[in-house]
Symmetry: C2
DNA sequence: ATGAAAGCGCTAACAC
DNA sequence: GTGTTAGCGCTTTCAT
């Protein structure tokens, strides 16, 4: 039976167990500097026997290097940020950098707190969602002296670098596609905007493009709370009761649009001829619905990958300063809920 | 324009700017020990002006306390672990502890690596999914000398504490409910088991209960990769082509069962009379399907909360040693896809 | 190829 | 209420 130690093991313990100086033990364990094969084996054996786990706190303090990348995102619950994380992971896995995630719940105050916490661990870089931050947050980020990549959005002024799509343009593009398809009475459902800047920008771009065609939104509804099927279902029912003449429904995310879709199908409504619909994000999870949804993918994984890559390049000094803003282009999937151009 | 500093600020900088000793500055910033109102204000002002962010690395090394809780889970992509995280957050938010997440992708090797990385930051506690770990992992956990809570599952021997449900019992319970409802030709669809011990245990419990009723599974299919609607749809179609006489389909998670449900509805099959179905997890996200799915909730949030609570209690020394294993009881929702008892 | 000394930025413990 | 001293466990640097 292994005894639970009263004190965690240190390099010194390994040093004594192997009869090699602490310094050499450190070199072996970090695979850094020349050590003879024999010494190396002795040390490795001793470390394994003891079950030694190096203390990164001490290591980081001494070396002034922390192989952590702070990733600050609003939420984990709607499937879009997990996909960004996967992109980040793809790249960081090849390096010795490790992502550490902080959640803001779309709250600037919480963002500030989380950021402060994160920065106090002196990470090697920060990836943070959005371009809108409190003054204090911007100040902290600037003062940190580490690479800062703002992701998801490029409609604004980045602190350092930005990788994302133009949500304004995305909204506009969807608006244009809808109008070209001949829809005229359009309803919108989405999250309450003040919190979610990207949803707001999409909405703005959307209404702009409608305005150009001389169309105004017929009805709209904003909700708060998680984006679930049932939310989309209920909002859609309510809206159609209120405004029975709608011929198109634009949703700020795929999950609620899927809820709406299921409701419309149940009602036996002809999609996309009587009513068309579209969502946003292009979440893979929802592939397999009875009717393929029109949506626009937000390049989530690519954004994560590109952001992580920039961090790596900056740390290696191979970053090209001209590439401070990377705009990706979302592709529109017409699915089967947006009728053919007429 | 703020100048990017060549070197991060230290306590000494705040000390000099405020004319107060480093020690007192430290006391103010940690709200620890008595400091006069005047000194406190001077220090706070100076710190804010400079934009000082404390160095937790140094603080942790000096105090030998790290307010981090390592949370090690298999995946973030199927909505069950994010909910566990929320439960953990609920509790930790009230304390000064911070969760740090590591992902294992259900791979023991990766779990070992992630665990090693995590432990090298000397966290105050570990919450880890499952009871099955490599020998090396178990050894590390035991040797760490910190609270270790294994979550999700209680069918096995915990290292220290365990919070979860009995998946074997859950599978058995669902099997019994299905049999009582009069179904006889039962198909099973789920993840490839060797990776996912909890799915395996549910499956074992399930087949056990069928066996007791003298029934054997008629057909089964195991898949790997993400659990998406389309997966459930395709597997269901294939299975029904292969075994058209099935009258019940049991899925190892809600997402694939939702895919199956949508497929069956499209085919105009009478649910739950011709064919019944059930999933597992009770994910909120899926509320709002055309027909409410039979499922069993896995107490995800409660598990997270309970695990975090135990960590807190252990750190405060208020943990009652008799409560090392906490078994929660999943509730069966019959939905509308499991016909009434006959 | 290996070791010795100094110190990373902070806090515990003890003075005053 | 405030200051001083001595480390925390490692890595850097320089010596051998």
């Amino acid at each position: 039976m292994t005894q639970v130690p009263r004190r965690p093991l240190t390099l010194r313990d390994v040093s004594e167990a192997s009869g090699v100086s602490e310094m050499t033990v450190s070199r072996v364990l970090r695979a850094h500097g020349d050590v003879s094969q024999m010494t190396r084996e002795k040390v490795l054996l001793a470390a394994k026997e003891l079950g030694y786990v190096p203390n990164k706190i001490a290591g980081a303090l001494a070396s002034q290097r922390v192989n952590l990348v702070a990733v600050i995102i609003p939420s984990m619950s709607n499937m879009v940020f997990p996909e960004v994380m996967m992109g980040i992971n793809d790249i960081l896995e090849e390096t010795d950098l490790q992502p550490v995630v902080g959640i803001t719940d779309y709250l600037p105050d919480k963002e500030e707190k989380v950021l402060f916490q994160m920065l106090s661990w002196r990470p090697s870089g920060v990836i943070i969602a959005g371009l809108e931050h409190s003054d204090a947050s911007r100040k902290m980020l600037k003062a940190s002296g580490i690479p800062v990549i703002e992701i998801m959005d490029i409609d604004g002024t980045p602190i350092d670098c930005a990788v994302g799509i133009s949500h304004r343009r995305a909204g506009r593009k969807m608006g244009e596609a809808i109008i070209q398809s001949g829809y005229k009475k359009i309803g919108f459902m989405g999250t309450k905007m003040p919190l979610d800047h990207r949803a707001r920008k999409r909405f703005e771009g959307f209404t702009e493009s409608l305005a150009k065609a001389g169309i105004e939104i017929t009805d709209h509804e904003f909700y708060s709370g998680g984006s679930a099927l049932v939310k989309g279902r209920d909002m859609t029912r309510d809206m159609l009761e209120r405004s029975p003449d709608l011929d198109f429904l634009y949703y700020s995310n795929d999950m609620i649009s899927a809820g709406g879709l299921l409701y419309l199908l149940e009602q036996g409504i002809d999609i996309p001829n009587k009513i068309g619909l579209a969502g946003f994000n292009g979440v893979e999870l929802l592939q397999g619905l009875p009717v393929e949804l029109a949506t626009m993918d937000a390049c989530r994984k690519e954004i994560g990958q590109a952001a992580a890559k920039i961090i790596c390049d900056k740390l290696e000094g191979t970053f090209v300063e001209s590439d401070k803003i990377l705009e990706l282009t979302p592709t529109l999937s017409r699915g089967a809920t947006l009728r053919k151009l007429n």
